[in-house]
């Protein structure tokens, strides 16, 4: 309904709208936040933003109070992320930006920040959502800049760029530069090498030597600079006394290069410069693509730092009459008393000593329902206080908090993870060792037979068996598969993930947030008075319209299709109970049955008492009696059942692992046809469950979303997180589904199976080629030209075979249709089934 949506953020409009005048036309907005932001944008002459944006803006975060941002001006807080430049007159900080939805946002933020007096420059990276801002010290403050960003509806947070970002950027630049040198060198050297290949005897020795020299000049940077990572890798392998792929790769490059240099110096013989540069380019290309995927994962990790706030409000002499001061959260010690305002996150673990509120602990437990907090209750750092200011006595800080413990648990499980890649390395190790022994033996033999030919034979063996095809077999296929999956909305963050996914026997799903949407939805409306269901729902939504509670959001989204004729006044909110307001002077209440019953004293009717224990019962009433009852529950993801059906059809075992009550987990498992269920599982129970499966020989793929799933995601051989899951889960996952749908998982499994087939073919080809070429080379029958041609041909075959994994044009169209297609509740089953078919096919033919 475009007519009734907010001009700024595109959300449905509530009863009252907040008008804003943009370029002479009045537009409605949905809340004071959007109105203020829109007015600020217009007030600064930046309304062009509204013409250029391609996506509605994100709804503004509660505008940060300038005073609150003041903490970032303190030198001790700034030390971590502000650097002085230009002899201390200017300062520079890196900011993480939240709320950027399209390129127009970047423009808007840049303009607005530049309008702040004293700001020298600002540059925003649209791809990474980060900004670098530089200002004249003394002319303005960091807090003013952050305030300006917050005014126009975005959240900016300084972060320590030196730690992760700079390192990654440096690595990326140097790898890209190496790749370019190798690629460009390869093309040019190929040009100089071609005449030698097609020579029909008319080329003079002079020209030949000229070509050799030109090739040499271009191959020197490739062999000495671009190939450096392989030498470094080989050196590490030698130092740690294990043979990996890098050793023969380095030997092959050095051997072929030195032999070619020798031939060039003698001005006779054949050169391998083209092979050297092509080899280096192809291997570097694979590395570069892998780095890109890892960088995305690292970015998510950076955001994790923000789970606990940077600033805390501490009472100086609690419980004596006291005033609060703002300090850096890192400076808190156990025993401190802090004030946590509604909407803020708890800075550390502790116990409530005063006040009443509710916490959103979904970050830690995956449970979407708010937990009521009263004096004496424990609260966990990182959870969010939903309403009511709370005074909390700090009990654990830093490394001792629940959040830190979860991160540690994850680290450990990650370290214990059986590195599948190492298994492939072991095989390669024997191959490489055998190869080196054969080369040495052959050289020794030829030294005895014909010493003049011995070095050439040794080089020929190294070149012809140069494990080009072997070392490309896996990365080329992996790169192609990763690229293909990226297009269908699956991000693979670790190299081994797909190999393992293809072998997975058990798929373990988390419940809340993975199979379900982790959002409360109104599942049933039971009117009791004269009003019909739509009217009751509308009334409920009007009562809840001002609340940020998950239940309130459920009502507002359920009722947004209906008109809103109700105008209410005198809102009063009682934590843990409900909301009261006046409609035409009559008091109405929505909330727990007990809370509503205290208005009129009538008993709860029987029909409302028989709802299942998985649902939340919400009552609506006035002084005359009940008006309606609503049940709220967690809705299933639309494609959950079809995905599980497809997995079962492919012969996989599907398990459900939930922190929720066992009865509820069982019921859901029954609905979806899941074989194994485990309810009431705390994070360590989940770990134990997966470990037990693994001990019985299962290859476990874990699909989860919450922070509480992070350890078990790391424990499983391969793990999958969803796009809307917490950053921590995404960081620990090997695969991230980039949409809010489950079915890309099927595409991932299908591609993984095709991938393992292609890898097997590639390895078979590489081994066959070596088995044929090695004896010939040892016997001295391989001319240098033949060796180079054979090497190139085998690599090319492997790469072309890998390219079969890339999506065809038809696949792309299908994916596109799928992404844009309806996700409606009714049509969803049909939509969800269509894409599962190709992967099911792949399963059969695999």
């Amino acid at each position: 309904m475009p007519a009734a949506s907010c001009y700024h953020c595109g959300l449905p409009l509530p009863v009252v709208s907040f008008p804003v005048d943009v370029a002479g036309v009045e537009h409605p907005t949905c809340c004071r936040g959007c109105q203020a932001v829109a007015l600020t944008i217009v007030g600064h002459g930046l309304e062009a933003y509204y013409r250029h944006r391609t996506e509605p803006s994100s709804s503004p975060a509660p505008a940060a109070v300038l005073q609150e941002l003041g903490i970032y001006d303190l030198p001790e807080v700034q030390r971590a992320f502000v650097s002085s430049v230009d002899t201390g007159e200017e300062k520079e900080a890196s900011l993480l930006l939240d709320g950027i939805t399209c390129a127009a946002c970047v423009w808007l933020i840049e303009r607005r920040v530049l309008q702040v007096d004293g700001v020298r420059s600002v540059s925003i990276n649209y791809a990474t959502r980060r900004a670098r801002v530089r200002w004249r010290d003394g002319a303005t403050k960091l807090s003013a800049i952050l305030g300006a960003v917050s005014e126009i509806g975005y959240a900016a947070q300084p972060y320590d760029a030196a730690r992760s970002d700079a390192v990654l950027a440096r690595e990326r630049r140097s790898l890209m530069w190496r790749l370019f040198v190798a690629g460009f060198g390869m093309m040019q050297v190929m040009m100089y090498a071609l005449p030698a290949y097609i020579d029909d005897g008319t080329m003079t020795a002079d020209i030949e030597q000229l070509m050799r020299l030109a090739s040499l000049v271009l191959t020197v940077p490739v062999a000495l600079w671009s190939a450096m990572p392989f030498y470094a890798g080989a050196w590490r392998e030698i130092k740690s006394r294990r043979l990996g792929m890098d050793v023969p790769v380095a030997l092959g490059i050095i051997g072929a290069f030195l032999a070619s240099v020798y031939a060039t110096v003698r001005a006779s013989g054949d050169v391998y410069f083209d092979s050297v540069s092509m080899f280096v380019f192809l291997l570097l290309g694979a590395r570069y693509l892998e780095l890109g995927a890892r960088a995305k994962a690292a970015q998510a990790q950076e955001r994790l730092v923000r789970e606990t706030p940077a600033v805390a409000e501490r009472f100086d002499r609690y419980p004596a009459p006291t005033c609060s001061e703002r300090i850096a959260a890192a400076a808190l010690v156990p025993g401190d008393h802090v004030l946590v305002r509604p909407g803020a996150a708890f800075p550390a673990d502790g116990r409530v000593v005063d006040g009443e509120g509710a916490a959103d602990e979904s970050l830690l437990t995956g449970e979407a329902r708010p937990v009521v907090k009263q004096a004496g209750d424990r609260v966990a750092g990182g959870a969010i206080n939903l309403h009511g200011p709370l005074t909390v006595r700090v009990e654990q800080v830093g490394e001792d908090t629940v959040l830190a413990a979860i991160v540690r648990l994850m680290d450990r499980a990650q370290a214990e993870k059986p590195p599948i890649a190492r298994a492939a390395d072991r095989v390669a190790q024997y191959f490489v060792a055998a190869l080196l022994v054969v080369t040495a033996a052959a050289t020794a033999a030829w030294l005895a037979i014909d010493p003049a030919r011995a070095p050439w034979i040794a080089i020929a063996i190294l070149v012809v068996t140069c494990p080009c095809a072997l070392s490309l077999a896996t990365p080329a296929a992996l790169t192609a598969a990763t690229g293909a999956l990226y297009e269908s909305g699956v991000l693979v963050t670790r190299g081994h993930a797909l190999e393992t996914l293809a072998r997975a026997t058990h798929f373990v799903f988390d419940k809340t947030g993975t199979l379900t949407l982790a959002q409360l939805r109104v599942t049933k409306t039971m009117p009791c008075g004269g009003r019909d269901a739509a009217e009751c729902l509308t009334l409920a939504a009007a009562l809840e319209a001002r609340s940020e509670h998950a239940i309130a959001r459920a009502f507002v989204s359920a009722a947004h299709a209906y008109p809103r004729p109700y105008v209410l006044a005198d809102f009063r909110h009682t934590a843990g109970a409900g909301i009261e307001a006046r409609l035409d002077g009559r008091v109405m209440r929505i909330g727990t049955p007990a809370y509503v019953a205290s208005l009129h004293g009538q008993p709860v009717p029987g029909a409302a008492q028989t709802i299942g224990d998985d649902a939340t019962l919400v009552a609506l009433g006035d002084g005359n009696g009940w008006i309606a009852f609503f049940t709220l529950g967690d809705a299933l993801r639309p494609d959950a059942s079809s995905v599980i059906r497809a997995l079962r059809a492919a012969g996989k075992t599907v398990c459900l692992l939930s922190g929720d009550r066992t009865a509820r987990a069982r019921q859901l498992a029954h609905e979806l046809g899941i074989d194994e269920v485990r309810g009431d599982a705390a994070p360590h129970d989940k770990l134990a469950f997966v470990r037990a499966l693994q001990e019985s020989g299962a290859v476990v793929a874990m699909i989860g979303d919450g922070v509480n799933d992070a350890p078990v995601l790391a424990q499983a051989q391969v793990s999958v997180a969803l796009a809307d899951s917490t950053e921590l889960a995404q960081v620990s996952a090997d695969v991230v589904l980039m949409s809010e749908r489950l079915e890309p998982l099927l595409a991932a499994v299908g591609t993984a199976r095709r991938l393992s087939r292609v890898i097997r073919q590639n390895l078979a080809w590489a081994v066959a080629y070596n088995a044929l070429a090695l004896p010939l080379a040892v016997a001295g029958h391989v001319t240098p030209l033949l060796a180079a041609a054979g090497m190139s041909l085998s690599s090319l075959t492997v790469v072309l075979n890998a390219l079969r994994l890339l999506p065809t044009k038809r696949d792309r169209i299908r994916v596109q249709a799928l992404v844009n297609g309806p996700v409606g509740r009714d049509g969803s089953d049909r939509v969800a089934l269509a894409p599962s078919r190709p992967s099911a096919d792949a399963g059969v033919t695999a």
Binding site: V22, A23, G24, V25, G45, L46, E47, A48, Y50, R51, H52, C102, A103, A104, V106, W107, R111, I124, N125, Y126, A127, T128, A169, R173, M176, W177, F180, V181, F184, G185, Q188, M191, Y192, T204, I207, L210, M211, A214, V217, L218
Partner: protein, 56 residues
């Protein structure tokens, strides 16, 4: 074929020139954000902030 004695060294010089340009591009951050600039060109900075019929 004598021209080759000129052309091949010339091609080498060109390669190194192009290499130098690319080196500058990589190290001055031209490849850091491949999406943003494409959009930015559409944002007209010198457009008058007060323009009436904003929405066509």
């Amino acid at each position: 074929m004598d021209i080759l004695y000129l052309l091949i060294p010339l091609s080498l010089v060109l390669v190194f020139l192009i290499g130098a340009v690319f080196w500058w591009a990589v190290h001055s951050g031209q490849f850091e954000d491949l999406e943003g600039p494409a959009h930015q060109i559409l944002m007209d900075d010198d457009e008058a902030p007060v323009r009436r019929s904003a929405r066509r």
